[in-house]
């Protein structure tokens, strides 16, 4: 009703005017009445008296009119808030404790919510992102090759076929991650993350270049002149944001390409790419080998098409391709899934959800805590409240007054929490940024987060304020008046509430502590596993030989040979070598056949990790072969296929024999039915444990020339400061190939720290939350115990007067704390077992649980020590006299 609100609003905003009008109106009435009496012959004084009498109390009528205007509630609210503020300022320590607890709870909640928002809610920055799907293949004959994500990319034949025959899609695009080395005559070469994309990819995502033109169909024809698209940051930083760069030629991975455009800032499809070329430029696609599956599919569904429908259409296509090309497509099935699922691993979703759960726990603990503090405080005020009720305040009025205090507390806590949130989000972002998140992941306190924060403040106010308010106000005015002066009994109801809240608080803290414990332990374990190898002063980096330039194996082998020779000559470098992967990194696995042993029918052949290494690998890592010999320059050439196995391999496959001289064969996923050569075992190396949880893995080391992959790690052990050697290394590489950058330069220690960032970041977060929870539990226990001692002063005095000794008084006070603790632990333990199942957590381990329970016990003892000691030091006489 418009008039309703118009009137209310007017009476609020133009209060003086409205009051004035009211006064005029009523006075007019009385004057009229007086006049009418006077006209009837009554004398003036009597007329006034009668008029007043008939009208009733002027102030009362005014009050009723104000009521009728519906603004009273607001005036009262203002009054309530003013009173609340005054009371809270008076109770400075109470207020400080509550605001601190709230601030901690709200800032951790908002911080984690910003993460949830950025990673899970906000989603991908594309138009109708829900219609964008990933396309891939699965090999049902050989599921191993899919890796952890369970899919493979498409071959160029599949990609073209799907594009032309599938009708469920508006369009299908393809892309492949790549590294792009940009070089030109005036600037030093730089390496960027990049991607090969089909020319329609950006259009499919709804993004256009901000400068220059988009890719065109002509760019994707085989033999088309190479073009390159730059990311905004590359354009701004490397080319000073000059438009003149469009149309100029730069070298991409050593091949000249014309710059055609610049994509908008904050665009990094598919993840953090900054340089793009058409798929036609991708070396792996050049040979168009029908079973090289390197193109990731990306489709936009037509309106109204479900993923299931698209899937069934692609199934039909997959069947047809299987019949048409049995040698490459037998067992190949298609898969369609939402694009967003690709980059937020289920693990991450789960752990973020767990973090959110943890902070909600923290919030609940905070609320329980504040509710306890409020209850204790309300009990002290029950006398005051009884008086107010007996003077005619309604219960609702009292509840409102008490809730107003909660709202003021929540508002102050919210403002403090907002400041805390900004700090928390900044801190979390700094950590996450180091883990190379996808370009669309942003942590900000945006509108949604702000709404969340506000809802949180109001929610907590109701949550921690309502129960105490209802409880306190329920007190019958009479009872309370009689009861309050004697502090002996204390409210039974109040005590029941505080007990329940305290138990909940202890249980929640236990779960948080356990989660933190499990995660930190798995983190520490992964560190304790490195004694096999001295990781200090070991510098690692990577180099990638572009396939266009290093087309043949001989070219690549020649490069590695030349590089290793330069490393060996190097001054100040103790040793240097190359390998397919750095120590402790995941390695590709291949199926193993041992000469002379057959595999039972139906059994899968065992799988072993393979690492290809340069000639000085073991020297560089300072490992001494246990048996046999290192590789020579002959090893790996045709007819001299040799391998070195680690001790774990020897123990697993040759438990009672000397493996040296035995022959093995490794089959790879890509081998098309052909046979790989037999490899003779030439040596046995010590085992490098990857980490304790995965245990020791059998590893086969092969000489680089046996499998000359273009991407390799460079390992350098320096005698002095590790990073000082980098410029010299760069020069050596540039001397061999001026377009080739070294990248991903890190010490092995740094790399390990990076690999373990989930445990480190999430473990630290859990630990922080658990500590906050513990501090809160301590505050809560202290407050509750202190309150109960205060309530029972008289009782304790009586007991002491009757001969109770100090231990009995101690027991009197601590009994309740210990009981709460015991019940809380019993309730919390099952929860601890549940969180132990989360990823990156160590399995629930009794040692940690015992430690956690012990820690809680100590905190509880410390928190209740002071109040308990105060009880024992009571002077019986004064305690009895205490009213």
């Amino acid at each position: 009703m418009l008039s309703d609100w118009a009137i209310r609003l007017r009476s609020l905003l133009r209060r003086a005017e409205v009051e004035h009008e009211l006064d005029d109106e009523l006075r007019f009435h009385i004057r009229q009445q007086v006049e009418s009496y006077e006209q009837a012959g009554v004398d003036h004084d009597e007329a006034v008296r009668r008029a007043r009498l008939e009208f009733g109390g002027l102030e009362q009528v005014k009050e009723d009119c104000r009521d009728a205007r519906g603004t009273r509630w607001l005036e009262e609210t203002v009054q309530d808030l003013r009173l609340a503020t005054r009371l809270l300022t008076k109770d400075r320590w109470f207020t400080l404790a509550v605001v601190l607890v709230l601030m901690l709870a709200i800032s951790v909640n908002t911080t984690v919510f910003a993460l949830v928002d950025g990673a899970l809610i906000r989603g991908l920055p594309f138009e109708h992102a829900d219609r964008i799907v990933s396309l891939g293949t699965r090999n049902i004959r050989n599921p191993i090759v899919h890796g952890p994500l369970g899919y493979q990319a498409l071959s160029s034949r599949e990609y073209e076929d799907w594009r032309h025959s599938a009708t469920a899609f508006v369009d299908i695009a393809g892309y492949a991650d790549a590294t792009m080395n940009l070089s030109d005559d005036t600037r030093s070469p730089e390496r960027f993350r990049g991607a090969y994309v089909s020319v329609n990819a950006f259009g499919l995502l709804g993004r256009q270049p901000v400068v220059g033109r988009n890719f065109q169909d002509e760019d994707d024809r085989p033999g088309a002149p190479p073009v390159v698209m730059l990311g905004y940051r590359v354009w701004a930083a490397r080319y000073d944001g000059e438009r003149a760069i469009i149309g100029q030629t730069v070298r991409v991975n050593g091949t000249p390409a014309v710059v055609i455009g610049v994509m908008p800032a904050r665009f990094g499809f598919p993840l953090t790419a900054e340089v793009w070329q058409p798929l036609a430029q991708m070396a792996e696609l050049r040979d168009r080998s029908p079973d090289t599956r390197v193109v990731n599919g990306l489709g936009r569904l037509t309106d109204g098409t479900t993923i299931a429908r698209a899937q069934s259409e692609l199934d039909v296509i997959a069947d047809r391709l299987e019949r048409q090309f049995p040698e490459t497509n037998s067992g190949i099935r298609s898969t369609v899934w939402p694009y967003g699922d690709r980059y937020i691993a289920p693990q991450v979703t789960l752990i973020i959800a767990a973090l959110m759960g943890a902070v909600v726990f923290v919030l609940l603990i905070a609320c329980a805590n504040i509710a306890n503090l409020l209850l204790a405080r309300a009990a002290q005020r029950s006398h005051e409240i009884s008086i107010r009720m007996s003077l005619g305040a309604t219960r609702w009025r009292i509840v409102r007054q008490l809730l107003s205090e909660s709202v003021v507390l929540a508002a102050v806590g919210g403002v403090a929490g907002y400041a805390g949130s900004i700090a928390g989000v900044t801190q979390l972002w700094n950590v996450l940024e180091a883990s190379n998140p996808p370009y669309w992941l942003q942590l900000t306190i945006d509108g949604r987060t702000f709404v969340f924060l506000t809802a949180l403040c109001l929610g907590t106010a109701v949550l921690f304020g309502l129960a105490p308010a209802l409880d306190t106000s329920r007190a019958n005015a009479n009872d309370s008046l009689k009861e309050a002066p004697r502090t002996g009994t204390g409210g039974v109801r109040v005590r029941r509430w505080t007990n329940a809240l305290m138990i909940a608080e202890i249980a929640l803290t236990l779960v948080l502590l356990a989660a933190a414990g499990f995660m930190m332990r798995s983190f520490l374990r992964s560190y304790s596993a490195r004694h096999d190898l001295d990781t200090s002063q070991l510098l690692t980096m990577r180099v990638e030989l572009p396939l266009l330039k290093y087309r043949t194996a001989e070219q690549r082998i020649a490069f590695v040979q030349a590089f290793e020779e330069r490393l060996a000559r190097f001054n100040g470098v103790a040793d240097g070598t190359i390998a397919s992967s750095v120590p402790f990194a995941p390695t590709p696995r291949r199926e193993l056949v041992v000469d002379g042993r057959s595999i039972a029918n139906g059994d899968r052949p065992p799988r072993v990790s393979t690492i290809t290494i340069g000639s000085r690998f073991f020297q560089t890592l300072d490992l001494h072969l246990i048996r046999g010999r290192a590789f020579t320059s002959l090893d790996g050439t045709a007819g001299h296929e040799t391998a070195i196995v680690n001790q774990q391999f020897a123990a697993a496959f040759f438990p009672n024999e000397d493996p040296i001289g035995h022959r093995i064969r490794l089959t790879s996923q890509n081998a098309r039915g052909g046979t790989t050569p037999w490899i003779a075992i030439a040596g046995v190396s010590p085992t490098i444990h990857r980490d304790v949880t995965t245990g020791a893995e059998p590893v086969v080391y092969l000489p680089y020339r046996e499998q000359p992959d273009p991407l390799m790690a460079v390992l350098v052990r320096t005698a002095s400061e590790a990073t000082a050697i980098v410029p010299l290394l760069r020069d050596e590489v540039r001397a061999l190939d001026s377009d080739l950058p070294l990248f991903d330069i890190k010490t092995l220690d740094e790399r390990l720290a990076f690999e373990r960032w989930p445990q480190r970041v999430f473990g630290t977060m859990f630990t922080i939350f658990a500590c906050i929870g513990m501090v809160m539990a301590a505050i809560g226990l202290y407050a509750v115990t202190a309150y109960s001692v205060g309530q029972r002063t008289q009782e304790i005095g009586v007991r002491m007067a009757l001969g109770a000794a100090a231990p009995q008084v101690w027991w009197l006070v601590l009994r309740r704390v210990m009981l709460q603790l015991a019940i809380g632990v019993a309730v919390g333990l099952p929860g601890a077992f549940i969180v132990g199942r989360l990823p990156w957590m160590d399995s629930p381990d009794p040692f940690i649980l015992i430690f956690v329970v012990l820690a809680l016990w100590i905190v509880a003892a410390v928190a209740s020590f002071l109040p308990a000691r105060r009880a024992t030091q009571l002077d019986p006489l004064s305690a009895l006299r205490c009213q």
């Binding site: 009703m1 209310r8 009008e21 007019f28 009435h29 004057r31 009445q33 009728a68």
Partner: protein
């Protein structure tokens, strides 16, 4: 306040006020006078209690107020029925008649 005067049942003040205003705009005192006259002084309405009721009706949008000049040249607040108020008067009057007829029937027959 003599015994012969009747207290009004809850909610009926609204109806009486609406009815009084049905003939045209009036200020508060005029309304109270009118009520006194037509009810032959049997109804006991404390004059002051009219005003909260008027303000409530105004808030509901059944009547609206404007400042005007009274017969004796004083500034007075005049109330008049709105269209919604007129409709409301119809509804309430019908309901009241039905109710009083029903109560009268019960009293006569039971």
């Amino acid at each position: 306040m003599t015994e012969s005067r009747l207290d009004l049942p809850q909610g009926t003040v609204d109806l009486l006020l609406l009815k009084t205003l049905a003939l045209g705009p009036r200020h508060g005192w005029a309304i109270s006078e009118r009520l006194r006259q037509i009810s032959s002084a049997t109804l006991h309405i404390r004059q002051g209690s009219l005003y909260p009721a008027l303000h409530r009706l105004e808030r509901r949008g059944w009547i609206k107020a404007r400042w005007g000049t009274s017969d004796n040249n004083r500034r007075a607040k005049y109330y008049e029925l709105t269209r919604r108020g007129r409709a409301e008067l119809e509804t309430q009057a019908v309901a009241w008649r039905k109710l009083s007829v029903a109560i009268a029937q019960v009293l006569e027959t039971a």
